[in-house]
């Protein structure tokens, strides 16, 4: 008479529903060929690592060579996860703002890439890549005619002087400091505290503007890399009239092919054509699309899903600095139509396990660790073959002087680590030295790397103590001289294609200080001498010296165990034309894009 207990009926219904949760994808994964073989990638990369040539006036005059099949019109959507922190060129150092700077700002010199990937420095505002005299200590640049900013005012040498001097003011703190330290020494701000706003200027012995068209730089020693340095976004021209100091970061004056229409930081940035930009004066940039619509806050996973689906608005979309999300790489490669719309190449970063030489004094311990480290599991964490490649030495494939086969520790042959060799080396080492404190960044990626490192080293007999470090201030913590750690993973990339921006900051003994990037605190007189010599030589000659320095460091000193080279793998919508991997920015080349239909 009593109805069956309603709860029992309910439980059955519920159990059925839960059962249906079992997703049906039971297809067998037999690990088909991913199409990425590191041999082919390395050959491509070798193109990237040829020395940079300095072009003359011919290479610098516009207009840039037409991109085959290019059509004007349409708006390009750009997806990015984090908002841009700065738009004031003086404050730009990171790559995302750097890409936008290519569209908005011009500078004295600029990098130019041809279809075969050869990189040369050409004049942008300047007629050529600059004339060196007085043994490379003096550099002279003459400005092109007909170069105007978005409001139509001509760019003069006074604007160039203003651009350099404002870097000395207090409100510029986030940008590069190469030019300032070369001109006025380490604490350059004292030379011009108000950045030229109060009428006081740098003396002619440092920076001279004899007339409206010419600018002369004077240095205390030879600066062969100056043209490449001035090509950095940080040194883009800021016209004196439109400089609103702190407020400039929100609404800078554009000199490039595009100008800012609206800017909601962290949400949306809309660019439109800059009518005052004259293609004939620019040998690199194009102005095909009517405008760019940057949308921020879109996670990398959503970017990948949208671009794979390629629905509606996503057809005209590209990724700014985000890449294909690691877990979805197989979906992109597996689908021919989608993998056609990708660009890939090596990033300039080399990830290495840096030893704190003040604590890990025994070379044998360092060698054992270098042999034991399992690059294969580390790369798996970055998304497998498309996330990175095993690194045999300190030079990235994008760096002139890169040697693909130089592999003193047999990393290429045994990427998952040579346990036997490592154990053999460790035989005589006392137990106390086998205890190592490994610091790792407390982010999701950092935790993955910790598992791989801990697993590899414990197998060889090390007692690994892992300490998590707050991910936001990771580099500041390990940058302290007296940090309590023995090992930590660091990554360093070149600022421009010259070994000077790799060896000097990381291994120069004279620069060991709190917060300096010499994380291994290596102080080796031989290395310091080599560095000093190479800095004065011109690029092709310096290459040999840098090679000698790297070999000495890797074999004799071993301040760090090379782990892997990072790779960039980006996807764009089906309606985007002219997509090509830019080896200088190590991202999609934003200057050549157009909308197909």
């Amino acid at each position: 008479m009593k109805p069956i207990s309603s709860r029992r009926a309910r439980a059955i219904v519920v159990a059925l529903a839960a059962g249906s949760l079992a997703l049906t994808a039971c297809s067998k994964n037999d690990g088909g060929d991913s199409g990425a073989d590191s041999k082919k990638d390395q050959k491509e990369a070798s193109v990237q690592s040829k020395a940079v040539t300095y072009a003359d006036a011919a290479g610098s005059t516009g207009p840039a060579a037409e991109v085959p099949g290019a059509k004007p019109g349409g708006t390009i959507n750009v997806y990015q996860e984090a908002g841009l922190s700065h738009l004031d060129p003086g404050q730009i150092y990171v790559s995302d703002a750097g890409q936008v700077a290519n569209l908005l700002f011009r500078r004295l010199t600029q990098f130019k890439e041809d279809d075969k990937g050869n990189v040369s420095v050409v004049g942008d505002l300047a007629t050529d890549s600059g004339k060196a005299s007085d043994g490379g200590k003096t550099w002279t640049f003459t400005l092109k005619d007909g170069v105007k900013d978005q409001n139509g005012n001509a760019i003069t040498s006074a604007d160039i002087r203003h651009t350099v001097e404002r870097q000395y003011a207090k409100f510029i703190f986030d940008g590069p400091t190469y030019l300032q330290t070369w001109l006025s020494g380490a604490d350059y701000r004292k030379a011009l505290p108000n950045g030229g706003f109060d009428g006081k200027h740098l003396p002619d012995s440092v920076l001279a503007t004899p007339d409206d068209k010419t600018v002369v730089f004077h240095f205390d020693t030879a600066r062969p890399d100056l043209p490449q340095t001035l090509a950095m976004a940080g040194y883009a021209v800021v016209p004196a009239k439109g400089d609103t100091k702190e407020k400039y970061d929100k609404a800078p004056v554009a000199t490039g092919p595009y100008k800012i229409v609206s800017n909601k930081v962290g949400k949306e940035l809309v660019l439109a054509k800059n009518t005052n930009w004259d293609p004939k004066t620019d040998s690199v940039r194009h102005q095909y699309a009517n405008g760019f619509d940057f949308q921020f806050g879109i996670t990398e996973s959503t970017q990948t899903k949208r671009l794979i689906a390629d629905q509606g608005e996503d057809k005209n979309a590209i990724q700014l600095t985000g890449g294909v999300e690691a877990t979805q790489i197989q979906d992109v490669i597996g689908n021919a139509a989608v993998s056609k719309r990708t660009v890939k190449g090596y990033q300039p970063y080399v990830m290495q396990l840096t030893f704190n030489l003040d604590r890990v004094k025994d070379l044998k311990v360092r060698q054992a660790i270098t042999y034991a480290v399992n690059s294969k599991s580390l790369i798996a964490g970055e998304g497998g073959a498309y996330g990175g490649d095993v690194a045999p030495n300190y030079f990235a494939p994008t760096l002139p002087g890169y040697e693909a086969t130089y592999d003193p520790y047999g990393r290429l042959k045994m990427p998952q680590g040579n346990i036997a060799k490592a154990k053999e080396i460790l035989k005589g080492v006392p137990a106390a030295e086998k205890k190592v404190v490994f610091a790792y960044s407390n982010s999701e990626a950092g935790q993955k790397r910790k598992v791989a490192i801990e697993d590899a080293l414990t197998k060889v007999g090390f007692n690994v103590v892992s300490k998590e470090v707050d991910s936001a201030s990771y580099y500041e913590q390990i940058g302290k001289l007296n940090n309590p750690y023995d090992l930590y993973i660091t990554g360093w990339g070149q600022d421009w294609p010259s070994a000077g921006t790799v060896i000097t900051p990381i291994y120069d003994g004279t620069q060991v200080a709190d917060g300096s990037s010499n994380y291994s605190h290596v102080k080796d007189p031989k290395v310091d001498a080599l560095i000093k010599k190479a800095l004065t030589q011109d690029p092709t000659a310096a290459a040999a010296t840098w090679k000698e320095a790297q070999h000495y460091l890797l074999e004799k000193v071993l301040p760090a165990a090379p782990l892997w080279y990072t790779k960039q793998f980006q996807l764009s919508g089906s309606n985007i034309g002219g997509a090509r991997y830019g080896s200088v920015s190590s991202l999609i080349d934003i200057n050549r894009l157009f909308v197909k239909s």
């Binding site: 519920v14 962290g266 689906a309």
Partner: protein, 325 residues
């Protein structure tokens, strides 16, 4: 009633200031600050000092706190311009005024909250009421078991699934995004339809179960039987008498949920790549952006306190016996 509101508002203000102080000193106690983060890799002490000086981080802590809190009431001057009355300072990372950033992101969160609340109140409580009204029948069984299954799902599983079905593989709907209602109400509605439905599905389950059990309790009350004895129809008794009594526990939980949603639904926003207040809180923490974090915290706390007061007033409105102590 008026005296109650005054006393509670004063209490709320004091709590707000305490929350501000707690957030501020917690933030400062954290091992690193914005300067060390912004200083990046080659971070010489001089450069670190420049950044601190530029952002006023070198002032003593209590001075910084006083400047911030007084800024809320009197407004504040920054190098980039004056920041009018409800000024929550200038974000270190973006350089925008925190108040304008919050106001720019708030419509998204408001739409999600209001949209979600409308769905889970109507569907959730409605289903619960009907399940109680037709207790023991098939309707009751179906409603309860469906709510049971749904309540065990999580947004970051349901969200991607829904997106996969409706957006990516079929293209029926375009990517969820916020379009101001003033521009195009239809686009506003379809833009956020998916996130609202997913988020409210999980809440709906909770409210169905609660409404049902609370309604069943009320139906057993004596005064409900008296009402029926007066010849009132079952439906009338159900929605006039039993419904009111069952509202008190529901209002309590509704208050807590709504105020927390107004503080930003981080997981929903991340899953659907929406720019709401929740993401601001995450950005604030990740970028060590003190003014932004303070602004978002105070903004969220403000709603929690207001909603708590409203809940207590709702008690008095629903049940005349409850005198506002």
């Amino acid at each position: 009633m008026f005296q109650f509101i005054i006393r509670r508002t004063v209490g709320a203000l004091v709590t707000l200031i305490l929350i501000g102080a707690a957030t501020f000193f917690l933030f400062v106690a954290a091992p690193s600050d914005y300067a060390s983060l912004a200083c990046g890799k080659d971070c010489s002490p001089a450069r670190l000092e420049d950044i601190r000086q530029a952002l006023g981080l070198n002032l003593p802590i209590h001075q910084q706190f006083w400047d911030f809190m007084s800024g809320i009431v009197m407004g504040r001057d920054f190098p980039t311009g004056h920041c009018s009355a409800p000024c929550l300072g200038q974000s270190f990372y973006s350089g925008d005024m925190v108040w304008s950033t919050i106001m720019d992101r708030f419509p998204t969160t408001l739409t999600l909250t209001v949209g979600g609340a409308v769905v889970f109140v109507i569907v959730g409580i409605g289903a619960g009421m009907i399940a109680a009204y037709r207790r023991g029948t098939m309707v009751d069984k179906v409603a309860t078991s469906v709510s049971m299954v749904l309540s065990s799902f999580q947004i970051y599983v349901l969200g991607p699934l829904v997106l996969l079905i409706f957006v990516y593989s079929t293209g029926w709907m375009d990517n969820p995004a916020y379009h101001p209602i003033t521009d195009d109400p239809w686009k506003w509605f379809t833009g956020l339809l998916l996130p609202v439905l997913v988020m409210s599905t999980i809440f709906t389950a909770q409210y169905t179960r609660m409404a049902r059990s609370s309604m069943i309790e009320q139906l057993a009350e004596e005064h409900v039987r008296t009402a029926r004895a007066k010849g009132m129809s079952n439906r009338y008794v159900f929605f006039r008498y039993a419904w009111r009594g069952s509202m008190i526990p529901i209002v309590t939980v509704l208050g807590i949920d709504i105020s927390s949603m107004l503080g930003g639904a981080v997981v929903t926003e991340l899953t659907f790549s929406l720019q709401g207040i929740g993401r601001l809180a995450v950005d604030g923490a990740v970028h060590k952006d003190l003014p932004l974090t303070m602004g978002v915290m105070l903004f969220g706390a403000f709603f929690i306190l207001i909603v708590n007061i409203l809940t207590d007033i709702a008690y008095a409105y629903i049940d005349p016996r409850v005198r506002l102590s």
